[in-house]
Protein backbone atom coordinates (compact mmCIF):
# COMPACT_ATOMS: atom_id res chain seq x y z
CA UNK A 1 0.00 0.00 0.00
CA UNK A 2 1.09 3.54 -0.62
CA UNK A 3 -0.22 5.31 2.45
CA UNK A 4 1.64 8.57 2.82
CA UNK A 5 -0.29 9.69 5.85
CA UNK A 6 1.49 7.95 8.69
CA UNK A 7 4.88 8.85 7.27
CA UNK A 8 4.35 12.53 6.53
CA UNK A 9 1.96 13.78 9.23
CA UNK A 10 1.78 11.36 12.11
CA UNK A 11 0.99 14.02 14.70
CA UNK A 12 -1.98 15.76 13.14
CA UNK A 13 -5.25 13.90 13.27
CA UNK A 14 -7.22 13.65 10.08
CA UNK A 15 -10.31 14.88 11.86
CA UNK A 16 -8.53 18.09 12.86
CA UNK A 17 -7.42 18.62 9.29
CA UNK A 18 -10.95 18.07 8.03
CA UNK A 19 -12.40 20.53 10.55
CA UNK A 20 -9.82 23.10 9.54
CA UNK A 21 -10.67 22.53 5.89
CA UNK A 22 -14.35 23.05 6.70
CA UNK A 23 -13.38 26.40 8.19
CA UNK A 24 -11.70 27.34 4.92
CA UNK A 25 -8.10 26.49 5.83
CA UNK A 26 -6.57 25.55 2.49
CA UNK A 27 -3.27 24.71 4.19
CA UNK A 28 -4.99 21.85 6.00
CA UNK A 29 -6.33 20.63 2.67
CA UNK A 30 -2.79 20.67 1.29
CA UNK A 31 -1.84 18.26 4.04
CA UNK A 32 -4.70 15.94 3.16
CA UNK A 33 -3.63 16.08 -0.48
CA UNK A 34 -0.10 15.09 0.49
CA UNK A 35 -1.49 12.12 2.37
CA UNK A 36 -3.61 10.79 -0.44
CA UNK A 37 -2.23 12.11 -3.73
CA UNK A 38 -0.09 9.05 -4.55
CA UNK A 39 -2.84 6.56 -3.81
CA UNK A 40 -5.42 8.58 -5.66
CA UNK A 41 -3.15 9.00 -8.66
CA UNK A 42 -2.22 5.29 -8.69
CA UNK A 43 -5.84 4.27 -8.48
CA UNK A 44 -6.88 6.57 -11.30
CA UNK A 45 -3.92 5.60 -13.44
CA UNK A 46 -4.92 1.96 -13.23
CA UNK A 47 -8.40 2.91 -14.30
CA UNK A 48 -7.47 5.10 -17.27
CA UNK A 49 -3.98 3.88 -18.29
CA UNK A 50 -2.68 7.30 -19.18
CA UNK A 51 -0.43 9.35 -16.99
CA UNK A 52 -1.61 12.76 -18.12
CA UNK A 53 -5.27 11.84 -17.88
CA UNK A 54 -4.69 10.32 -14.45
CA UNK A 55 -2.94 13.52 -13.36
CA UNK A 56 -5.82 15.69 -14.57
CA UNK A 57 -8.47 13.45 -13.07
CA UNK A 58 -6.63 13.35 -9.74
CA UNK A 59 -6.57 17.15 -9.78
CA UNK A 60 -10.28 17.26 -10.64
CA UNK A 61 -11.03 14.85 -7.81
CA UNK A 62 -9.18 16.92 -5.24
CA UNK A 63 -10.80 20.14 -6.44
CA UNK A 64 -14.19 18.49 -6.10
CA UNK A 65 -13.25 17.20 -2.65
CA UNK A 66 -12.23 20.71 -1.56
CA UNK A 67 -15.54 22.12 -2.75
CA UNK A 68 -17.53 19.32 -1.09
CA UNK A 69 -15.65 19.07 2.17
CA UNK A 70 -17.99 21.48 4.04
CA UNK A 71 -20.68 18.81 3.53
CA UNK A 72 -18.52 15.96 4.87
CA UNK A 73 -20.23 14.75 8.06
CA UNK A 74 -17.84 11.99 9.03
CA UNK A 75 -20.36 9.19 8.60
CA UNK A 76 -17.70 7.28 6.69
CA UNK A 77 -13.93 7.59 6.81
CA UNK A 78 -12.45 10.48 4.87
CA UNK A 79 -10.56 7.98 2.78
CA UNK A 80 -13.76 6.22 1.67
CA UNK A 81 -15.47 9.55 1.08
CA UNK A 82 -12.56 10.75 -1.05
CA UNK A 83 -12.55 7.51 -3.03
CA UNK A 84 -16.21 7.94 -3.76
CA UNK A 85 -15.41 11.28 -5.38
CA UNK A 86 -12.43 9.82 -7.21
CA UNK A 87 -14.51 6.96 -8.55
CA UNK A 88 -17.36 9.21 -9.64
CA UNK A 89 -14.99 11.51 -11.49
CA UNK A 90 -13.06 8.67 -13.10
CA UNK A 91 -16.00 6.47 -14.08
CA UNK A 92 -17.84 9.47 -15.54
CA UNK A 93 -14.74 10.33 -17.56
CA UNK A 94 -14.33 6.75 -18.77
CA UNK A 95 -17.95 6.54 -19.85
CA UNK A 96 -17.73 9.81 -21.78
CA UNK A 97 -14.50 8.69 -23.39
CA UNK A 98 -15.95 5.35 -24.35
CA UNK A 99 -18.90 7.07 -25.96
CA UNK A 100 -16.60 9.40 -27.91
CA UNK A 101 -14.08 6.76 -28.92
CA UNK A 102 -16.51 3.95 -29.57
CA UNK A 103 -15.13 1.81 -26.78
CA UNK A 104 -11.38 2.08 -27.39
CA UNK A 105 -9.46 3.91 -24.75
CA UNK A 106 -6.19 2.09 -24.31
CA UNK A 107 -3.11 4.23 -24.62
CA UNK A 108 0.19 2.37 -24.56
CA UNK A 109 2.37 5.40 -25.21
CA UNK A 110 3.00 6.12 -21.59
CA UNK A 111 6.16 6.24 -19.61
CA UNK A 112 5.57 4.56 -16.32
CA UNK A 113 7.41 4.44 -13.12
CA UNK A 114 6.85 1.48 -10.89
CA UNK A 115 6.74 1.95 -7.21
CA UNK A 116 8.70 0.12 -4.61
CA UNK A 117 6.20 -0.67 -1.84
CA UNK A 118 8.80 0.26 0.74
CA UNK A 119 9.41 3.64 -0.84
CA UNK A 120 6.07 5.10 -1.69
CA UNK A 121 6.88 8.20 -3.63
CA UNK A 122 10.54 7.84 -4.53
CA UNK A 123 11.09 5.90 -7.71
CA UNK A 124 13.40 2.95 -7.51
CA UNK A 125 16.84 3.08 -9.08
CA UNK A 126 16.89 3.02 -12.83
CA UNK A 127 16.65 -0.50 -14.20
CA UNK A 128 18.72 -1.89 -17.01
CA UNK A 129 17.33 -1.41 -20.52
CA UNK A 130 16.12 -4.98 -20.90
CA UNK A 131 14.50 -4.84 -17.47
CA UNK A 132 12.76 -1.62 -18.37
CA UNK A 133 11.49 -3.18 -21.54
CA UNK A 134 10.20 -6.23 -19.67
CA UNK A 135 8.43 -4.07 -17.15
CA UNK A 136 6.92 -1.99 -19.87
CA UNK A 137 5.61 -5.12 -21.53
CA UNK A 138 4.17 -6.42 -18.29
CA UNK A 139 2.60 -3.06 -17.59
CA UNK A 140 1.20 -3.02 -21.06
CA UNK A 141 -0.37 -6.45 -20.56
CA UNK A 142 -1.93 -5.34 -17.29
CA UNK A 143 -3.33 -2.19 -18.85
CA UNK A 144 -4.75 -4.13 -21.77
CA UNK A 145 -6.38 -6.63 -19.45
CA UNK A 146 -7.86 -4.01 -17.14
CA UNK A 147 -9.10 -2.05 -20.15
CA UNK A 148 -11.31 -4.99 -21.00
CA UNK A 149 -13.21 -4.63 -17.75
CA UNK A 150 -16.10 -2.25 -17.31
CA UNK A 151 -15.32 0.85 -15.23
CA UNK A 152 -17.23 -0.60 -12.27
CA UNK A 153 -15.37 -3.93 -12.41
CA UNK A 154 -12.06 -2.09 -12.72
CA UNK A 155 -12.89 0.04 -9.72
CA UNK A 156 -13.81 -2.94 -7.57
CA UNK A 157 -10.76 -5.06 -8.29
CA UNK A 158 -8.33 -2.15 -8.03
CA UNK A 159 -9.77 -0.99 -4.72
CA UNK A 160 -9.65 -4.52 -3.38
CA UNK A 161 -6.29 -5.69 -4.69
CA UNK A 162 -4.28 -2.49 -4.83
CA UNK A 163 -5.84 -0.52 -2.01
CA UNK A 164 -6.75 -3.49 0.17
CA UNK A 165 -10.12 -1.94 0.94
CA UNK A 166 -12.84 -3.88 2.73
CA UNK A 167 -16.02 -4.88 0.93
CA UNK A 168 -18.12 -2.34 2.82
CA UNK A 169 -15.64 0.44 2.06
CA UNK A 170 -15.73 -0.37 -1.64
CA UNK A 171 -19.53 -0.53 -1.52
CA UNK A 172 -19.62 2.89 0.13
CA UNK A 173 -17.18 4.37 -2.35
CA UNK A 174 -19.15 3.06 -5.30
CA UNK A 175 -22.60 3.55 -3.83
CA UNK A 176 -23.67 -0.08 -4.25
CA UNK A 177 -24.34 -3.11 -2.05
CA UNK A 178 -21.69 -5.40 -0.58
CA UNK A 179 -23.20 -8.26 -2.56
CA UNK A 180 -22.70 -6.31 -5.78
CA UNK A 181 -19.09 -5.64 -4.83
CA UNK A 182 -18.44 -9.33 -4.18
CA UNK A 183 -20.14 -10.36 -7.38
CA UNK A 184 -18.18 -7.84 -9.46
CA UNK A 185 -15.00 -8.95 -7.76
CA UNK A 186 -15.73 -12.55 -8.73
CA UNK A 187 -16.10 -11.73 -12.43
CA UNK A 188 -13.25 -9.22 -12.53
CA UNK A 189 -10.86 -11.71 -10.94
CA UNK A 190 -11.92 -14.48 -13.28
CA UNK A 191 -11.37 -12.28 -16.30
CA UNK A 192 -7.98 -10.99 -15.18
CA UNK A 193 -6.88 -14.49 -14.27
CA UNK A 194 -7.71 -15.64 -17.77
CA UNK A 195 -5.99 -12.68 -19.40
CA UNK A 196 -2.90 -12.42 -17.22
CA UNK A 197 -2.22 -15.90 -15.95
CA UNK A 198 0.76 -16.43 -18.23
CA UNK A 199 2.23 -13.13 -17.03
CA UNK A 200 1.90 -13.36 -13.27
CA UNK A 201 2.70 -17.07 -13.13
CA UNK A 202 6.03 -16.44 -14.87
CA UNK A 203 7.16 -13.16 -13.30
Amino acid sequence: MQAEAPVTQPDVSELDLIKRCQNGDSGAFDELVVRYRTRVFGMIYNMVHNEQDAWDLAQDSFVKAWKSIPRFRGKSSFYTWLYRIVMNVTIDWLRKKQVKAGGTEFDDNVQLREIDPASRTVPRAEALPHQRMERREVRSRIDEAIAQLSPEHRAVILMKEMEDMQYHEIAEALGCSIGTVMSRLFYARKKLQNLLKDVYENV
Binding site: G42, A54, Q59, M162, M182, Q193
Partner: protein, 170 residues
Protein backbone atom coordinates in the same frame (compact mmCIF):
# COMPACT_ATOMS: atom_id res chain seq x y z
CA UNK B 1 -28.66 -15.69 1.24
CA UNK B 2 -25.32 -15.34 -0.53
CA UNK B 3 -24.93 -16.28 -4.15
CA UNK B 4 -22.22 -18.66 -5.29
CA UNK B 5 -20.16 -15.71 -6.60
CA UNK B 6 -20.34 -13.95 -3.25
CA UNK B 7 -19.34 -17.09 -1.36
CA UNK B 8 -16.50 -17.76 -3.78
CA UNK B 9 -15.17 -14.22 -3.39
CA UNK B 10 -15.42 -14.39 0.37
CA UNK B 11 -13.59 -17.71 0.29
CA UNK B 12 -10.78 -16.31 -1.88
CA UNK B 13 -10.38 -13.41 0.56
CA UNK B 14 -10.52 -15.76 3.58
CA UNK B 15 -13.70 -14.11 4.77
CA UNK B 16 -15.74 -17.31 4.89
CA UNK B 17 -15.76 -19.01 8.27
CA UNK B 18 -17.55 -21.60 10.38
CA UNK B 19 -20.54 -23.46 9.09
CA UNK B 20 -20.70 -21.31 5.97
CA UNK B 21 -17.17 -22.32 5.03
CA UNK B 22 -17.85 -25.99 5.61
CA UNK B 23 -20.98 -25.88 3.52
CA UNK B 24 -19.21 -24.05 0.73
CA UNK B 25 -16.28 -26.46 0.63
CA UNK B 26 -18.65 -29.40 0.63
CA UNK B 27 -20.46 -27.92 -2.36
CA UNK B 28 -17.32 -27.71 -4.49
CA UNK B 29 -17.18 -30.46 -7.12
CA UNK B 30 -13.38 -30.36 -7.41
CA UNK B 31 -11.70 -29.17 -4.26
CA UNK B 32 -8.16 -29.40 -5.66
CA UNK B 33 -9.00 -27.27 -8.70
CA UNK B 34 -10.74 -24.73 -6.48
CA UNK B 35 -7.70 -24.51 -4.21
CA UNK B 36 -5.45 -23.99 -7.23
CA UNK B 37 -7.70 -21.22 -8.45
CA UNK B 38 -7.64 -19.59 -5.03
CA UNK B 39 -3.85 -19.59 -5.08
CA UNK B 40 -3.90 -18.18 -8.57
CA UNK B 41 -6.28 -15.37 -7.50
CA UNK B 42 -3.97 -14.52 -4.61
CA UNK B 43 -1.01 -14.40 -6.97
CA UNK B 44 -2.95 -12.07 -9.22
CA UNK B 45 -3.58 -9.76 -6.25
CA UNK B 46 0.08 -9.71 -5.30
CA UNK B 47 1.09 -9.16 -8.89
CA UNK B 48 -1.24 -6.19 -9.26
CA UNK B 49 0.05 -4.65 -6.03
CA UNK B 50 3.64 -5.01 -7.24
CA UNK B 51 2.77 -3.16 -10.42
CA UNK B 52 1.40 -0.12 -8.64
CA UNK B 53 2.19 3.13 -10.41
CA UNK B 54 3.86 5.98 -8.59
CA UNK B 55 3.03 9.62 -8.89
CA UNK B 56 6.11 11.45 -10.04
CA UNK B 57 6.54 15.19 -9.40
CA UNK B 58 4.45 15.06 -6.26
CA UNK B 59 5.36 18.61 -5.27
CA UNK B 60 4.39 19.97 -8.64
CA UNK B 61 1.11 18.10 -8.35
CA UNK B 62 0.32 19.90 -5.08
CA UNK B 63 1.55 23.22 -6.45
CA UNK B 64 -0.63 22.94 -9.52
CA UNK B 65 -3.61 21.92 -7.43
CA UNK B 66 -3.13 24.89 -5.10
CA UNK B 67 -2.99 27.27 -8.06
CA UNK B 68 -6.12 25.76 -9.50
CA UNK B 69 -8.00 26.02 -6.21
CA UNK B 70 -6.97 29.66 -5.91
CA UNK B 71 -8.01 30.33 -9.48
CA UNK B 72 -11.37 28.63 -9.10
CA UNK B 73 -12.19 30.27 -5.79
CA UNK B 74 -11.38 33.75 -7.15
CA UNK B 75 -14.40 33.97 -9.52
CA UNK B 76 -16.62 32.71 -6.70
CA UNK B 77 -15.43 35.60 -4.51
CA UNK B 78 -15.92 38.04 -7.39
CA UNK B 79 -19.45 36.78 -7.88
CA UNK B 80 -20.21 37.23 -4.20
CA UNK B 81 -18.80 40.75 -4.33
CA UNK B 82 -20.78 41.49 -7.46
CA UNK B 83 -23.97 40.32 -5.82
CA UNK B 84 -23.25 42.41 -2.76
CA UNK B 85 -22.37 45.46 -4.87
CA UNK B 86 -25.46 44.95 -6.99
CA UNK B 87 -27.64 44.73 -3.93
CA UNK B 88 -26.05 47.88 -2.54
CA UNK B 89 -26.76 49.66 -5.83
CA UNK B 90 -30.36 48.49 -5.83
CA UNK B 91 -30.87 49.64 -2.26
CA UNK B 92 -29.27 52.98 -3.05
CA UNK B 93 -31.49 53.42 -6.08
CA UNK B 94 -34.54 52.52 -4.03
CA UNK B 95 -33.75 55.04 -1.29
CA UNK B 96 -32.87 57.68 -3.89
CA UNK B 97 -36.22 57.17 -5.60
CA UNK B 98 -38.17 57.38 -2.35
CA UNK B 99 -36.35 60.56 -1.31
CA UNK B 100 -36.90 62.15 -4.73
CA UNK B 101 -40.59 61.33 -4.61
CA UNK B 102 -40.92 62.81 -1.14
CA UNK B 103 -39.14 66.03 -2.17
CA UNK B 104 -41.29 66.25 -5.30
CA UNK B 105 -44.48 65.78 -3.27
CA UNK B 106 -43.49 68.50 -0.78
CA UNK B 107 -42.60 70.94 -3.58
CA UNK B 108 -45.84 70.21 -5.41
CA UNK B 109 -47.90 70.91 -2.32
CA UNK B 110 -46.06 74.19 -1.68
CA UNK B 111 -46.37 75.37 -5.29
CA UNK B 112 -50.01 74.40 -5.53
CA UNK B 113 -50.78 76.26 -2.36
CA UNK B 114 -49.07 79.37 -3.67
CA UNK B 115 -50.93 79.12 -6.96
CA UNK B 116 -54.37 78.59 -5.48
CA UNK B 117 -56.60 81.38 -6.93
CA UNK B 118 -57.99 83.80 -4.34
CA UNK B 119 -61.64 83.65 -3.50
CA UNK B 120 -62.08 87.09 -5.01
CA UNK B 121 -61.10 88.23 -8.49
CA UNK B 122 -58.30 90.65 -8.98
CA UNK B 123 -60.83 93.34 -9.45
CA UNK B 124 -62.29 92.66 -6.04
CA UNK B 125 -65.69 92.95 -7.53
CA UNK B 126 -68.54 92.93 -5.12
CA UNK B 127 -71.85 92.16 -6.57
CA UNK B 128 -74.57 93.64 -4.56
CA UNK B 129 -78.12 92.99 -5.45
CA UNK B 130 -80.77 95.21 -4.35
CA UNK B 131 -84.42 95.22 -4.86
CA UNK B 132 -86.25 98.47 -5.32
CA UNK B 133 -89.62 99.08 -3.92
CA UNK B 134 -91.74 96.18 -5.21
CA UNK B 135 -94.78 98.35 -5.55
CA UNK B 136 -93.01 100.65 -7.95
CA UNK B 137 -90.90 98.20 -9.98
CA UNK B 138 -91.67 94.59 -8.95
CA UNK B 139 -89.09 93.00 -11.32
CA UNK B 140 -86.31 95.53 -10.98
CA UNK B 141 -82.83 94.50 -9.82
CA UNK B 142 -79.78 96.57 -9.26
CA UNK B 143 -76.25 95.16 -9.40
CA UNK B 144 -73.24 97.12 -8.32
CA UNK B 145 -69.69 96.27 -9.48
CA UNK B 146 -66.97 97.87 -7.52
CA UNK B 147 -63.20 97.89 -8.12
CA UNK B 148 -61.73 99.23 -4.96
CA UNK B 149 -58.16 99.72 -6.19
CA UNK B 150 -59.25 101.93 -9.07
CA UNK B 151 -62.09 103.50 -7.10
CA UNK B 152 -64.62 102.55 -9.77
CA UNK B 153 -68.19 101.51 -9.11
CA UNK B 154 -70.67 100.44 -11.77
CA UNK B 155 -74.35 100.10 -11.11
CA UNK B 156 -76.29 97.72 -13.35
CA UNK B 157 -79.97 98.21 -13.21
CA UNK B 158 -82.55 95.94 -14.86
CA UNK B 159 -86.32 95.91 -15.01
CA UNK B 160 -86.68 99.42 -13.74
CA UNK B 161 -89.93 100.90 -15.04
CA UNK B 162 -89.22 104.36 -13.82
CA UNK B 163 -86.36 105.96 -12.06
CA UNK B 164 -87.23 106.84 -8.52
CA UNK B 165 -87.14 110.52 -7.88
CA UNK B 166 -84.47 110.22 -5.21
CA UNK B 167 -82.06 108.51 -7.71
CA UNK B 168 -82.36 111.19 -10.27
CA UNK B 169 -79.21 113.05 -11.04
CA UNK B 170 -79.36 116.50 -9.90
Amino acid sequence: MKTFEEKWTAWIDDQLTGRELEEFLASLPDRAAADAEKQSAKKLGSFLREQAVALSNVDFFSHQLRERLDRESAPARSNRDAVQTGWWTIRRLLWGSITSLAVFAVCTVVVLRERTPPSQSQYLTEILTYRVDPTVSPNATISMFQKKDDHVTVLWVEGLQSLPAEYATK
